[in-house]
Amino acid sequence: MPKITFVQPDGSRQDVEAQTGMTVMEAAKKNLIDGIEAECGGACACATCHVYVDEAWQQAVGKPADMEEDMLDFAFDVREASRLSCQIKVTDELDGLIVAVPDKQF
């Protein structure tokens, strides 16, 4: 099972086990990660599941699709590394993925 690390704004880290096929947001919710709100339940309709993908992982994770890029307009402090975690599917290739949770979702 792929492992995902969530880094909180204070630097604390939580490792969670994810299943392939689920989204990074679902892995976060299942493990009660702070700061991932996911108000819309993963429909790419709320931008409250915003994360920053660790630099080393950006290529593997890839860029947001158009719909996600539009939705990122509703997130706060959007950066190059920004993704909506409900739009990242967990695969075996993403075993070890590190994402940072923003200071504040909206």
Binding site: E39, C40, A43, A45, C46, A47, T48, E69, D70, L72, D73, F74, F76, D77, V78, D103, K104, F106
Partner: protein, 353 residues
Amino acid sequence: MVDQTGAVPQGAEQDIETDVVIIGAGPCGLFAVFELGLLDIRAHVIDILDKLGGQCAELYPEKPIYDIPGLPIVTGAKLTDQLLEQIKPFDPVFHLNERIDALEPMADGRFKLVTDDHRSFITKVVVIAAGGGSFTPKRPPLAGIEAYEGNSVFYSVRKMENFTGRDILIVGGGDSALDWTLSLQPIANSITLMHRRDDFRAAPHSVEKMRALVAENKLKLVIGQVKQLHGDNGQLERVTVKPKDGEELDLIANCMLPFFGLTMKLGPIAQWGLNLHENLIPVDTEKFQTSQPGIFAIGDINDYPGKLKLILSGFHEGALMAQAAHRIVYPDRKLKFQYTTSSSNLQKKLGVK
């Protein structure tokens, strides 16, 4: 009738007297119009959104829903359209862009509801179909922003005059941001539009107009994000921004309009003296009535053992609520159970006979 806020001067109108007021025009509120209509009860429907359909219309108009009985696949927008067609024979009165702020029982057993625009409804029955609460503009998580709200920071424009001669910063890339940039530009002292990327979701013709104004130096466009607000006593003076390519800088602005979409907040419902449980309204499962007789709650906003926040549950709740509402609206009339398939009486109401 669709009512535009601000069009009616305060106090110029009589109270609206009616049998039922439905708070919320989401799918469950809309279908309640149908179930009430079959029982000869006409409803006024109020929603703070500028459109009908609640979450389906605001959050996922283009996404497919797969669990509406009899509709194997339907988008949020299409479901809303179909519901509107279905309830058309009952001629509901819609009041959009209005929020119900107050709800109070009156001495004669009816209820008085007051909107944020100070309009009043007097009604025998209230149906709260408020979903996750009022759709409310998102507040950017900037330190101290609350202090500026209402004075220098606004999430909507109610009166254009208030913006005359001001140094305005508009933030966002959708239709609201672009439309207000274009409308306020002629009356502002200076105007800046800021968006995180040089790509706009707004309608292409607005984007073209915006770019033309930039080319004429009548509008400043900054690609970047807001970092910090500066000012005193609720009066904004400067805004620190981080341009996409470049160092942080300060913009002069005494007024900011952030457009980051909407989120659902319970809102005024908490002040209506109803029992609440974790921001939901407990109801019985016979009538879907709240702790206050005559006030019902259906759809996502209610709570009872086994509740599922599904559209289809809200439809069922509306049907049972309507039976109970009938007893209040027409205490002397006997209710006869009828099918739409075979009752000529119902078919007449539906306009199919």
